[in-house]
Chain length 368, copies 2
């Protein structure tokens, strides 16, 4: 057994954690709040943060132009803004997009590189520090070093990572997800679940990481029935945020696998949300890997209370009329792009491009 | 649910991790190796470290005068030595004593305070960084911020903690425990178990931390039979070191409880090893707390494969002829000292000095 474990983020979880820990905001003299158009305000997180920054006499500016699935231009714009306003730390608020964008902006603030060089770059200088405040329970980005960015020139998403891209502090307050609409709650919960499951399945999985992932799968399972009937209580919100944090901790150590590699094209080309994209692939992903990991597959089904992979597949299509239909050419293109993702190499069952193309055909109906 | 989670130590676990990660030693220009008389050499850790330091062209000096259960004078001597030789980081090698001493030495190197001020002190300056290399599987100190020191003026052990006392990197290589004699293996394994169990029982326990602790208890349980018959294979060594690391991660978040508070006097006054001291108290500790934590108590017994607390008590007296006998006065003194420990306040069942005195009487035979 060989493994590494490290969770350098100071994760503070629970109702009211921002106001309870206002000292944590003393990371610099000038904060840049990085967020999207709405979620920071709607969630109530922005008000709490502004109160604390005012209390602590820390000046701030707001960059609220992070797009969904941010691309390189978008984060470059944020970095220009951060430098112009003299920010020396970032408070990132929102779903995965603002949190991932903040990591890229933090990198570009201190490293004189082209945005495209973020990918695979060994950075010379420490990033400006980040405080992360999630307003969805899915991405887990608040506790990971990953920044996933859309790269139009490559027609896909790519991620970068660095020891400096871990947030310094993460405030996970389930109340900030209370205003999240039902379908977005489902999509993001499925994203969290995909992290837990892929980490558990990853070639890089370790006993300690498995314990974290299984705890998350157990907690997700406790919410499963309530998610189905739309009974999203405060207790469910809390559990989903907890499961999401666990998913983030888990993939920090293992990365993701083929479900993510395959999901990206559905988001890039079809505009399907990230969590939903993964969920569409989940059943075939389990079927594919069952021969390599029979015990883990049984364990996941047992914890979820499903008798079969079909039953799991049916659950994870909740709220979906039918899968989109992909042409054979689309299947080939997506398979090629999926194989270009590092996550494909961490899949327990080794696959080639033809295998992945077949998977797309099975799931998305083999249209012409 | 409110909780914090943070594991800033870069834990690298497995055979050969030091040589595989020689770059991690580049923490400064001059290393001070902090260790006791023998274990660094006997374990083989010292040779690996010296090879890597030589490869990396990092100069070093050795302070090998750490005593068992180091006191303030001992760590003060180490700090004088560290400053004289101009060390800017520490490589601590050994059991709990050298690792805990290293944290105190690292603090004293950069903070102009009296050694006694280590206790409860808010430190002004960051400590010099520490690399920790355990040669026992018990303390978990390589992944905790705790430094437990013997304080003769208080007739007990006391600990201090700081965000800076976490080692930067921990290299947990099970091979370094191969030379550990059987009884020391048992004693330290019992120490690791006490961390796992007390963290699980602690008033500060959280679901995430429970998952870590239960993973450790499960792994300890896998070794239980082999420990009994002295079949300490390489596989058992690996599992025990893994369980010890999990215990360290667990108590980093919760601290310990009454078992530790009560154990310290047995070490201080009777010279009984730390792990053994805890083990002597374990059964009555479980009985005491059973009413508060019936489910957790059942879970621990179930994982260990015991039908009753008596059976657990019998197991944890392995290799012991009989408990020492304490006089009534000793019971009173020890109870008073135990109540002065912060860990007593984290016990699930609230206790007063009389309760603790009764516990000592029950366990240690009510001698005169």
């Amino acid at each position: 057994m060989k493994f590494k474990f490290n969770m350098p983020v100071n994760l503070k979880f629970g109702s009211g954690v921002i106001k309870d820990n206002s000292e944590d905001f003393k990371l610099g003299r000038k904060a840049l709040l990085v967020t999207g158009k709405n979620s920071a305000r709607l969630s109530g997180a922005l008000d709490d943060i502004l109160d604390v920054l005012t209390d602590q006499k820390i000046s701030f500016d707001i960059f609220d132009k992070v797009e969904n699935n941010p691309n390189l231009d978008n984060v470059a714009m944020g970095a220009v803004y951060a430098k112009e306003c003299g920010a020396d730390f970032i408070v990132a608020v929102g779903g995965g997009s603002p949190l991932d964008a903040a990591k890229a902006i933090a990198a570009l603030c201190t490293n004189d590189i082209e945005p495209i060089e973020l990918l695979g770059k060994k950075f010379e200088n420490p990033f400006i520090p980040i405080i992360a405040v999630p307003t969805t329970s899915g991405t887990g980005s608040e506790v990971t070093p990953y920044s996933v960015l859309t790269i139009p020139s490559m027609k896909t998403k790519k991620s970068f990572t660095s020891p400096w891209s871990f947030p310094k502090v993460a405030f996970a307050d389930p109340r900030y997800t209370y205003s999240l609409p039902y379908l977005k709650t489902v999509d993001t919960a499925f994203d969290a679940f995909s992290h837990l499951m892929e980490s558990y399945y990853s070639l890089r999985s370790t006993p300690l990481n498995d314990a974290v992932a299984l705890e998350g799968i157990k907690v997700f399972a406790e919410c499963k029935g309530d998610i189905t009937i739309g009974n999203i209580t405060e207790d469910v919100r809390e559990k989903l945020m907890y499961a999401s944090c666990l998913g983030g901790i888990a993939i920090s150590h293992t990365g993701t696998t083929l479900m993510h590699s395959m999901g990206y094209s559905l988001t890039y080309f079809k505009g399907i949300s990230h969590g939903r994209s993964n969920a569409m692939i989940l059943a075939e992903y389990m079927r594919l890997n069952k021969s390599e990991l029979p015990e883990k597959t049984e364990k996941v089904l047992e914890l979820l209370g499903f008798d079969s992979i079909d039953e799991a597949g049916s659950y994870f299509s909740l709220g979906l009329d039918e899968n989109p239909v992909l042409s054979d050419e689309e299947c080939r293109t997506y398979a090629n792009l999926a194989m270009g993702q590092g996550s494909a190499k961490l899949n327990p069952k080794s696959v080639n491009e033809d295998d992945v193309c077949d998977l797309y055909r099975i799931i998305f109906g083999g249209g012409q």
